[in-house]
């Protein structure tokens, strides 16, 4: 069961309890947001990798060697 650590700043007392329904909902919202962010990053990285592979293939077709292609990005 998810738990919450509650700190009462007025007394300095810290207690641990199970989450309420509202807190579970908030947690699920955060989880969905984090997953969406993760998918966005993975999609962006995949798009960059795909574009790079496509560019390298076109350069190879033009007659560049692998060393010459690598030198372009240094």
């Amino acid at each position: 069961m998810p738990t919450v650590i509650e700190v009462d700043c007025s007394t300095g007392i810290s207690t641990e309890r199970e989450m309420t329904a509202a807190e579970v909902t908030a947690r699920q919202e955060m989880q969905a947001h984090a997953e969406a962010r993760r998918h966005e990053e993975e999609a962006a990285a995949a798009a960059v990798a795909e574009a790079k592979a496509s560019a390298e293939a076109k350069l190879t077709a033009l007659g560049l060697t692998a060393e010459e292609i690598a030198a372009l990005s240094k």
Binding site: I5, E16, R27, M30, A34
Partner: protein, 172 residues
Amino acid sequence: MSVFLQPIYTQTVGAGGTTVISFNNIPQTFTDLQIVISSRTNGTGGVRLIGAYFNGTGYPSNASFRELIGNGSSVSSSGNSAYSTFGYTNDASQTANTFSSHTIYIPNYANTSNFKQLIIDSVSENNATTARQYLAANLWRYTNAITSLQVDCGGEVFQQYTTFSLYGITKG
């Protein structure tokens, strides 16, 4: 100018971990608040965000942020009209025993006339190519004074030795 930083409370997570930390009854006597987090979760994705909300209301609809993210190989920026985060937490996919660091500054948190601003600076730690630095400005379009703060890690569990420290800053 703010010249005095006073510790309000520091909570260290124990062996069982926890999913949410809630600071309640935050004193209304300071000018600004600062939250410092050292975090590690049990996730494996390496891109989990720490989220936060105030006064136990759940994630706000009247909030927006603008963020700048560096991940070790590229830089990106984005904005959103409904969410606020405290940056990327370290998790189990990153180097053992490392924790991400987060500093959040909230000016005029007890004021009941102004919307609440958050300035966020965080960095994850990893002995690998990918580690994230996160800078963000958040605006919570609520005039309520901040009396409590809840911090969540989106479906994961904050691990042992994660710490949350709350400070009050008094203007000079």
